[in-house]
């Protein structure tokens, strides 16, 4: 119900951001949440729609019961709001920080006003829950005696593990890196999602609930998956879509050209105290950095580069600049491809669009010094180079952030000879792979996507695994049959 006229009475208020000068001095999160009273007022803006689009296929992938927790927040019933939120979303502390919030672009109020600040509300609920101690370990009351191995500890793997553990199964989560979290740990910059304060906080909680974590375990490479199959009743593969798109142009072999993930994971690890040898270290300090690719990953490279003290940061993009507002071909409530300056970009990057990289330029020692570029114009799905617009972009460090093609093929996929689809993702029926007892969820199954989709995949997959193990209807919540708190 909310406040009937709340949407007319209150304007949207966002979290405030620290100034650029201030925030680029460190790697910490730099948003200041609103006060509890302000949040409650924001909750009142929800119209409690008869058909809440935030909660549809255009909106929240996990199907958060948004109108309900908005109302609960408005009424100051934070603990109930917390339970509502947790009934559909395993990791609101992640999504409350990094989700692009399709719920907000689908919000009915957003049709002709500014949408309800759902993401901030989500953030506030879960952080309050931690603060108040409502968020505490809840190990299962009994154990089924079944065990499950989950390979890959990204958000999908964490969600699967979290859910299956609730159902009483013994879950071991395997991670090839030394810390748990996958992209959440290694990809997303610390200033957007704090590794210790947020990710590790959750990992610790899960450990207390009984989940075992095995790190530095590259399954299918160092440890055979057959071993896991032998020791467990089911295996779930949530290894992500780790295969980056390359840019195979002339002089690609020059030094100083890296995939974004290499750069980002080092950067994040460094924040957590890890150090790298000079040979391996990728640093932007004092360099002219060019980021190729205009997506979120690219932006993350920009933000880290600036914090590392790059001399300049340029981000180029093959595509034209998106329009500033919705156009007729991206109507509400679909997710709009509108241009939005990311916080990192706002910190001082040069952006350029319709730019094609023709070749890298390297000096005698094999180091990259620049990129030969040309401007292009788009015609339908193809483009033409514009003659005479060739130019050279100076670069000491080039970061390739052009997306991911699918899962790595030479680990579990190879070992189990898993069937894959035409996009090289693991092929499943439901979440079951071609090998009995082996399931897959997340980016390794559906391809590169959002954290929130990974959580969704993990939850749904867990239900299927539970039913596979117990041969009866699962009592776990999922999208098709969940029960929520009032």
């Amino acid at each position: 119900m909310g406040k009937i006229t709340g949407f007319k009475d209150y304007k949207r208020k966002n979290f405030t951001l620290a100034s650029v000068e201030e925030r680029i001095k460190h790697y910490n999160e730099f948003t200041t949440p609103l006060t509890q009273e302000e949040m409650e007022e924001q909750g009142a803006r929800c119209m409690d729609c008869g058909v809440p689009f935030c909660h549809s296929n255009y909106g929240c992938p996990v199907g958060n019961i948004i109108p309900q927790f908005n109302d609960q927040v408005y009424r100051g019933r934070w603990e109930d709001a917390f339970r509502t939120l947790m009934s559909t979303n395993n990791f609101p502390e992640f999504t409350g920080r990094v989700c692009p919030a399709p719920c907000e672009t689908a919000c009915v109020l957003g049709l002709n006003e500014t949408a309800v600040g759902i993401k901030n509300i989500e953030y506030s609920i879960i952080e309050k829950a931690y603060k108040e101690g409502w968020m505490k370990p809840q190990p299962p009351k009994s154990r089924t005696g079944k065990s499950v191995a989950v390979v890959g500890s990204g958000p999908a793997g964490m969600a699967v593990a979290n859910q299956l553990n609730k159902a009483g199964h013994n879950v071991t989560l395997y991670e090839k890196n030394s810390r748990i979290g996958g992209l959440v740990r290694y990809g997303i910059p610390n200033f957007k999602l704090d590794k210790q304060k947020v990710v590790q906080r959750r990992v610790d909680l899960m450990a207390k609930e009984g989940i075992k974590f095995v790190t530095d375990a590259n399954i299918g490479v160092d440890i055979s998956i057959a071993e896991l199959q032998k020791d467990n009743d089911a295996v779930v593969i949530t290894t992500g879509a780790g295969n980056p798109r390359d840019l195979p142009i002339e002089n690609r072999d020059a030094n100083g050209i890296h995939f974004a993930m290499e750069f980002l994971s080092q950067s994040n690890s460094r924040v957590e105290g890890e150090s790298f040898s000079a040979k391996d270290e990728i640093l932007a300090t004092g360099k002219d950095v060019v980021v190729i690719g205009g997506g979120d990953t690219g932006s993350d490279c920009v933000g880290n580069s600036i914090r590392q003290g790059a001399k300049s940061v340029t981000q180029i993009e093959l595509m034209p600049k998106s329009p500033d507002k919705r156009t007729d071909d991206m109507p509400w409530p679909t997710y709009p491809r509108v241009f939005k300056l990311s916080t990192s970009q706002a910190e001082g990057a040069e952006l350029d669009f319709n730019v094609l990289s023709k070749s890298f330029i390297k000096d005698e020692s094999g180091n990259v010094t620049g990129i030969n570029c040309v401007r292009i114009e788009w015609e339908g799905r193809g483009f033409n180079e514009i003659a005479g617009t060739e130019f050279i972009l100076k670069a000491d460090l080039v970061l390739l952030a052009m997306g991911f093609l699918g899962p790595l093929q030479d680990d579990v996929i190879k070992e189990l000879s898993l069937e894959t689809d035409e996009r090289s993702n693991i092929k499943t029926k439901g979440f079951a792979t071609s090998v009995d007892g082996v399931f897959s969820a997340g980016d390794s199954r559906r391809g590169q996507s959002l954290v929130v989709w990974a959580i969704h995949e993990g939850r749904e997959c867990a239900v299927e695994v539970d039913e596979f193990l117990m041969k009866r209807q699962s009592m776990l919540n999922c999208k098709s049959r969940a029960y929520c708190e009032e």
Binding site: M47, S56, V108, S480, Y483, E486
Partner: protein, 1500 residues
């Protein structure tokens, strides 16, 4: 096989649902002088009531007419001798039975010999038979086909009995003979029937039209056929099937009305059967009566009523006493004596009211009288001449006498009785009569001794203490959802109101849901439409009652049962303390027994066995003398699951009825299950006397502690609010069926089931219609266990709360909806971009959502494909013209949204609908003019100008979202423009009454249709009905009432604000209603007279195609049209906060409106385009050839859905045989009889006035058969001059005589009627500027202001103009007046109801409930003796004095005019003594109106 003369069930048609209504009246000689004159006058009266009857498909086939007279002794004596050489014994010693003998020779002799045997067996002597001469050449073919042979049998009284005993013997003979014949296997005996058998009275009747009666029975014309009483009746039935027996009068009564609670009354009578014993009947005689105690083979409600009246009268009570007991007046009345209240209360404990609109004329040959139900919804007028001729009839003027001969005129008032005792030779006033009855026995003492007030009992048991620990678990066990808490319970506990919602229902039917749905939701509430009116439980609360009694009822025949006790309950909902009191009762003769209604959750199939165990246990308890049986769900656990409470309740109730012990005990329900108002209504409707919903109370407690409901309330207050809300809700549900008291609602089963299997219904819900079969008890058990297993899971793996619901708002994981976010988006994109491709994507989602089975049509598939090239199908432009947008008022939606629809529909030759809010006259004649102008109960802005600017006039009898209810437009939605359009004051809320106050019955509808046709002869008249069982037979009646179009709306449609209970639970899907209507019209040969239209969540070309195949040739769209305009289904229309500027009047929000006419046009074009594709596939070139082709539909194959797979759709898809000469789509125009109207002459006379504004004065003669006088004249003039009309008195008509119904309806400015005489109902209806003057004939002798001069419901919906009435007007004077200024002598009950404007001055008495629902205008009442203020309903008005000069001038000016026009001497006196008289005026001032006027004054 035996042939029955009554039509059989066929397809969805079921004769059980036929209705009738009628003209009724009598002529009597007050001194009991017998003469042929009385008979002749009776027949004349009957002929003049012809317009109240109906004719069927054939002009000369009527629905029935008849006459009941005293035994014409000398006539009988002569004809018995002449015909059969029988010498009759002296009067009183012979009886005459009138017998319809079958024509089939075998049946003929069989039935005659049975009658003779029965006479002998009862110890009387059969003297012989006479064949009654009949002349059938005037009869229509269909009537002649079933014409019986009419005979009279003469019975001689045995010597050893007196005449009263003889009369009883004759009664037993008749019942017994009927039973014996019915049991006979001989073919044709079904035609046997005995209209009467008595020594005192005799009836002549048949399936005739009124004027055929004397032609058919020459007996009636014989001069020696003499009687002092002639009771006559003309029937208007909703069918045209031969049913000679159902013609009236019956043996004691002629009934105009409808018994709404019939099913319950019949059940209760059956239940009493075993307790009946009498010293006037032997056991053997009672056994002979039983088979036909109350229900002679398929009788009508009236015949059943007659049967019970007859039984109770013969068993020893006087006829007026019996009438009073069965149709009691409302007795919670402070003006009533204690004795009288005790009389009613005493009888209330063992006889529930036979509830419904009823004017019943009755006679036993010695007294003659009439009584009116408590609501007074049927007109009855009477007068007495100086020659002692007493005439009572449905209307005034049906018999004409010179004015100077009339000594007394009156009307029957609500709940009152009018009785003439011909032996005493006088009229006994109601007051005297009732006091006589009330003091005949010491009822007050009996009540005092026997009554136990529940709240006076000691608390011997601990009340149930809430258990916080298990609340949630138990909530889950009963399927509680978050919505139950938030949407259902919260507003009830907080504010004692049920929640309001908007935009109809588009969620799955219960039987199509994937979820476990409470059994209650399979039952849909039925409601009154056309044949009887719904009532207003708020504004007319004085007739409503929730009081009930539990305990044994005892022997109905016995006047007093000393051993009996009964407990009085003031509401059927018991709180925890009350049920503890009840359980702990240990004194008096009371014992209560709790019986658990749980079953073994682990044992498959145990639910069924458990019900049998419960039944046995109950039987034993009743046998052991327990007078209160409590069915309890306490003790639910992991092992024990609850039987659905409704199932257990109905099973036990019906079991006890069958056992004949139901009236020996009260049935109380202690259950955790019910929480919604609908739940309680169904429990009561299926037999529960009282309910303790303890989990609902615990939930409230739980929510209080969680601060989910108001913190300032104590638990007791919250519970009390909740109980109040349930009470109000039950009132609303009862009232939409026209039922006033819970005692008659209990067990009345006024529901239709959708999706329940035959066996389940037959075994546990017998008598409830369930037409597409469905789930049986095993599936029900599964549903129950689904919830149970969630409450008691094998293991709890994560915190697991209540379900999301998704019934009221869309929710993932909740109920499926037709409108999902996805298809709302696609539809908007398709129509905005003009992309048919996107539209196809949309319809794919809508139709594939149908794979999830939300609607019945989702279960249908096309068959018999016969593709033709699409070019051969009629063009899309033609098809588009068949679309209309639904009725959405300007006011409920914004100007922008409203006009967009009009522009769009006009541009393609389709039609938009004004809705009930009127229309700004600036739109008339432009492309914004809505072609369909709606006429709803509020009559907002319904003026002559509005009506002439229509192409179609739609009478809204019901609307899908809330059938049987009126609407309410909150003050904040009434801005300047809307106020002007609705002829009301901005800022003042508006109420639409539940009924049209000019439609209480089918013949009234016929009258309104006639009125509207007169108001605009070029317009089609459309009658809007809502789907429910029996709507087909109603539609047949509507067709016979000359409607041109019938719209069948689905229950799920509707965009307006409605109570959630109504949105969800009232009415049925259009598929059922449409198909039933088409089938019934075809069966009656009426289909060709009607254009059939349907609407209700139509979404795609497929939906439209299915509607066409089921019988509709036109279609309406509303919700989807709004979606196209930008609606995103906020479902907040009622809050004025629509964020897209559609359903709001907020300026800022309206600015956000983005809809365009082109989008709507695209939508209609797409629908038509898709429909054409289906047509091409099925091989139809035109819509007309497609209409009703159900053979092209089949039930979808391979349905696996666990519930839906049990449905059987054969009846829905039944193809009714069409006779060659009949059409199955509209081909004929209705004959509205306009050419006979008096106005044709008036228009000629006034031609010069109309054309050239030349003032003309004329004088005419007036009779009651001149209906709707002045309306066509007004329309003719209005076409030329619009709203403004002509200068005052340009057209001046002096009329002498009696004005027929609707005199002066919709008369515009410049027209004046001056009537010397009197007038009937609906006088000045919709008056819009004209002037009406009415005064008694100058030579009349009666006291003007105490004599009725004007019928009921005068000036209904008047918008302006003035009127002066010298005399007493009937009930509901100036109801919904919004601007006329009227002065009147005196008025009946409910004066100025729902008034929103204008001035009314009353110079004499007022009836009860004056000013109810009055939100505007002012009434001044001259309270000479300072005793009238208590009759004013203070709910919305303040009582002031005349204080300002302006007030004084206003009142005085009006009275001066009054005296000038009517010569009123009372008015003259008041003016003479103005200074002293002015202080005696009560100024009745609506509070809202006062506030707004004050604000306006301050602003100035």
């Amino acid at each position: 096989m035996k042939l029955e003369c009554y039509p059989c069930k066929e397809g969805l048609y079921d004769p059980e649902f036929e209705h009738d209504a009628c003209g009724v009246g009598f002529v009597a000689h007050l001194k009991g002088e017998q003469s042929h004159n009385i008979v002749a006058k009776g027949l004349e009266l009957l002929a003049n009531l012809e317009h109240r009857g109906a004719v069927g498909a054939e002009k000369n086939s009527g629905d029935g007419a008849g006459i009941l007279t005293q035994m014409p002794d000398s006539f009988m004596r002569r004809v018995a001798k002449e015909a059969s050489n029988i010498e009759l014994p002296p009067f009183g010693e012979y009886g005459v039975g009138v017998v319809f003998v079958p024509r089939d020779p075998d049946a003929y002799s069989e039935t005659q010999s049975i009658v003779e045997q029965c006479i002998e067996e009862l110890g009387q002597e059969c003297l012989g038979w006479r064949r009654v001469p009949t002349i059938n050449n005037s009869l229509g073919e269909s009537v002649r086909a079933t014409e019986p042979i009419v005979k009279q049998v003469f019975v001689k009284k045995a010597d050893d009995i007196d005449t009263d005993a003889f009369e009883r013997k004759l009664f037993v003979i008749r019942k017994y003979a009927q039973a014996r014949v019915t049991a006979s296997p001989i073919r044709g005996t079904g035609y046997f029937y005995m209209p009467s058998m008595s020594h005192k009275t005799i009836s002549y009747k048949g399936q005739l039209i009124t004027e055929q009666l004397p032609l058919y029975f020459p007996d009636l014309g014989d001069e020696d056929y003499e009687s002092a009483i002639a009771l006559v009746h003309s029937r208007f039935s909703t069918n045209t099937f031969p049913s000679w027996p159902l013609a009236q009068p019956f043996r004691y009564i002629a009934h105009n009305g409808e018994i709404n609670t019939l099913r319950g009354n019949i059940n209760w009578m059956k239940a009493r059967q075993s307790l009946l014993h009498s010293n006037l009947f032997t056991k053997d005689e009672l056994d002979k009566i039983y088979p036909f105690l109350i229900n002679e083979a398929k009788g009508s409600d009236s015949s059943v009523l007659d049967n019970v009246i007859e039984l109770l009268t013969l068993a020893g009570r006087k006829l007026p006493h019996v009438m009073t007991m069965m149709i009691p007046e409302a007795w919670r009345d402070d003006e009533m004596s204690e004795d009288r209240r005790a009389f009613y209360e005493y009888h209330a404990t063992f006889m529930e009211p036979w509830d419904g609109p009823a004017s019943v004329a009755f006679t036993d040959g010695k007294v003659v009288g009439a009584t009116l139900d408590r609501n007074g919804l049927r007109p009855s007028r009477y007068f007495l001449t100086k020659d002692d001729i007493l005439v009572m009839a449905s209307e005034q003027g049906a018999l004409e006498f010179p004015a100077e001969d009339i000594v007394l005129k009156g009307r029957l008032q609500p709940g009152k009785m009018f009785l003439a005792d011909l032996e005493e030779g006088r009229i006994i006033p109601d007051e005297e009569l009732k006091e006589q009855m009330a003091t005949a026995y010491p009822y007050k003492e009996w009540v005092a001794n026997q009554k136990i007030n529940l709240d006076d009992l000691p608390m011997n048991e601990e009340p149930w203490q809430p258990n916080d620990e298990t609340v949630k678990q138990r909530q889950k066990c009963y399927g509680y959802t978050v919505e139950d808490l938030k949407t259902v319970i919260t507003p009830m506990a907080n504010d004692a109101y049920e929640a309001t919602g908007s935009m109809g229902n588009d969620a799955s039917l219960a039987v199509l849901s994937h979820h476990s749905i409470n059994l209650y939701n399979y039952f849909h509430q039925l409601f009154a439409q056309v044949t009887n009116p719904p009532i207003d439980p708020i504004r007319e609360e004085l007739v409503m009652s929730l009081t009930s009694y539990i305990g044994s009822q005892g022997n109905l025949f016995q006047e007093v049962d000393e051993d009996r006790n009964f407990i009085k309950l003031s509401t059927p909902i018991l709180d925890n303390r009350q049920i503890a009191r009840l359980k702990g009762i240990d004194k008096f003769n009371f014992k209560t027994k709790s019986i658990s209604i749980l079953f073994d959750a682990k044992k498959e199939g145990d639910m069924k066995d458990a019900i049998e165990r419960v039944k046995d246990e109950v039987s034993r308890a009743v046998a052991d003398g327990y007078a209160v049986i409590i069915l309890s769900t306490r003790g639910v656990s992991e092992l024990l699951a609850p039987i659905p409470t409704l199932l257990a309740t109905s099973a036990v109730h019906q079991h006890l009825i069958a056992e004949g012990t139901r009236t020996s005990c009260g049935l109380v329900i202690e259950s955790a299950e019910p929480r919604e108002i609908h739940h309680f209504a169904t429990l009561i409707g299926f037999g529960a006397n009282a309910i303790n919903p303890f989990l609902a109370f615990e939930t409230i407690e739980d929510m209080r502690t969680k601060k989910l409901i108001r913190e300032d309330l104590t638990q007791d207050e919250a519970v009390s609010n909740y109980i109040t809300a349930v009470g109000k809700g039950i009132f609303k549900i009862m009232s939409k069926m026209g039922i006033s008291t819970i005692r008659s609602y209990t067990g009345a089963q006024i529901f239709e089931a959708v999706g329940l299997g035959e066996k389940l219904v037959e075994k546990y819900f017998k008598g409830t219609p369930s037409r597409i079969a469905g789930i049986e008890i095993d599936t029900l058990e599964k549903e129950t266990l689904m919830c149970h297993s969630l409450a008691y899971p094998k293991d709890i793996v994560e915190s697991n709360g209540l379900g999301v619901g998704g019934q009221y708002a869309y929710r993932q994981r909740g109920e499926n909806h037709l409108l999902s976010p996805e298809n709302i988006f696609l539809l908007q994109q398709a129509t905005k971009n003009g992309s048919y491709e996107t539209f196809k994507q949309y319809t794919k989602t809508v139709d594939s959502v149908n794979d999830d089975f939300i609607t019945l049509r989702g279960l249908l598939d096309f068959r018999g494909l016969n593709p033709i090239p699409i070019d051969e199908v009629e063009p899309v432009e033609g098809i588009m013209k068949r679309f209309a947008t639904g009725a959405m008022s300007y006011g409920s939606i914004s100007k922008e949204a409203h006009e967009t629809l009009a522009i769009a529909m006009n541009s393609i030759g389709a039609k938009s609908n004004t809705g009930e809010g009127g229309e700004d006259s600036a739109r008339f004649g432009t492309n914004k003019n809505s072609k369909i102008k709606q006429v709803a109960s509020g009559r907002f802005g319904v003026t002559a100008n509005y009506l002439v600017n229509a192409e179609e006039l739609q009478i809204k009898l019901a609307q899908g979202a809330k059938p049987g209810e009126g609407g309410q437009l909150p003050g904040h939605k009434v801005d300047e423009v809307i106020g002007a359009t609705r002829h009301s004051t901005p800022g003042v809320g508006l109420i639409s009454p539940p009924p049209h106050h000019d439609i209480y019955s089918i013949e009234d509808l016929k009258q309104l249709i006639h009125d509207l046709k007169n108001a605009n002869v070029n317009a089609r008249i459309n009658t809007k009905l809502v789907s429910e069982v029996g709507v087909g037979t109603i539609a047949a009646g509507v067709a016979k009432a000359y409607s041109d179009v019938i719209l069948i709306s689905g229950f799920d449609g509707g965009t307006g604000a409605s109570p959630q209970t109504s949105i969800k639970h009232a009415g049925l899907p259009w598929e059922l209603g449409l198909s039933e209507t088409h089938q019934t019209l075809v069966k009656n040969g009426l289909r060709g007279r009607i254009t059939l239209q349907t609407d209700g969540q139509l979404r795609s070309g497929r939906d439209v195609a299915i509607a066409t195949l089921l019988g509709a040739e036109e279609w309406g769209i509303a919700t989807s049209a709004l979606i196209v305009e930008g609606c995103i289904m906020m479902r907040k229309c009622h809050l004025n906060t629509c964020p897209v500027g559609i359903a709001t009047q907020d300026k800022d929000l309206r600015a956000k409106y983005t809809g365009k006419p082109e989008h709507v046009v695209n939508f209609v074009r797409f629908l038509a385009t898709e429909l054409r594709e289906v047509m091409a596939e099925l091989g139809f070139r035109t819509i007309n050839e497609m209409v009703g082709r159900v053979d092209k539909l089949k039930a979808r194959e391979g349905v696996k859905h666990w519930k839906a797979k049990h449905l059987h759709l054969e009846k829905l898809l039944y193809r009714m045989y069409v006779r060659e000469e009949d059409s199955k789509y509209k081909t004929m125009t209705q004959n509205h009889g306009i050419e006979d109207a008096l106005d044709n002459e008036l228009i000629k006379t006034m031609r010069d006035a109309i054309d050239n504004k030349t003032p003309i004065k004329t004088e005419i003669r007036l009779r009651n058969i001149n209906r709707t006088v002045g309306t066509m004249l007004s329309a003719e003039m209005t076409r030329k001059y619009g709203e403004e009309g002509l200068p005052d008195d340009t057209i001046y008509i002096k009329a002498n005589g009696t004005g027929g119904q609707s005199f002066g309806a919709f008369v515009n400015s410049g027209i004046t009627f001056e009537i010397e005489g009197d007038a009937n109902d609906y006088f000045g209806k919709g008056l819009c500027g004209g002037k009406l003057i009415l005064y008694p004939p100058v030579n009349s002798t009666f006291e003007a202001n105490e004599t009725v001069i004007l019928g009921n419901v005068a000036f209904y919906g008047a918008t302006s103009g003035e009127a002066y009435i010298y005399g007493l007007a009937g009930e509901r004077f100036c109801v919904r007046n919004s601007g006329a200024n009227v002065v009147v002598g005196a008025v009946g009950d409910h004066g100025c109801e729902y008034m929103t404007g204008g001035r009314v001055v009353v110079l004499g008495e007022i009836g009860k409930n004056f000013g109810a629902g009055m939100s505007g205008g002012i009434a001044y009442i001259y309270d000479k003796d300072d005793n009238l203020s208590q009759r004013i309903n203070g709910g919305m008005v303040d009582l002031d004095k005349i204080e300002t000069i302006a007030d004084e001038d206003e009142v005085r000016g009006m009275i001066e005019n009054y005296v000038k026009y009517t010569g009123s001497k009372e008015g003259d006196e008041i003016l003479e003594n103005w200074e002293s008289s002015k202080s005696k005026f009560i100024k009745v001032m609506p509070r809202d109106y006062k506030r707004v006027l004050q604000n306006q004054a301050e602003e100035k």
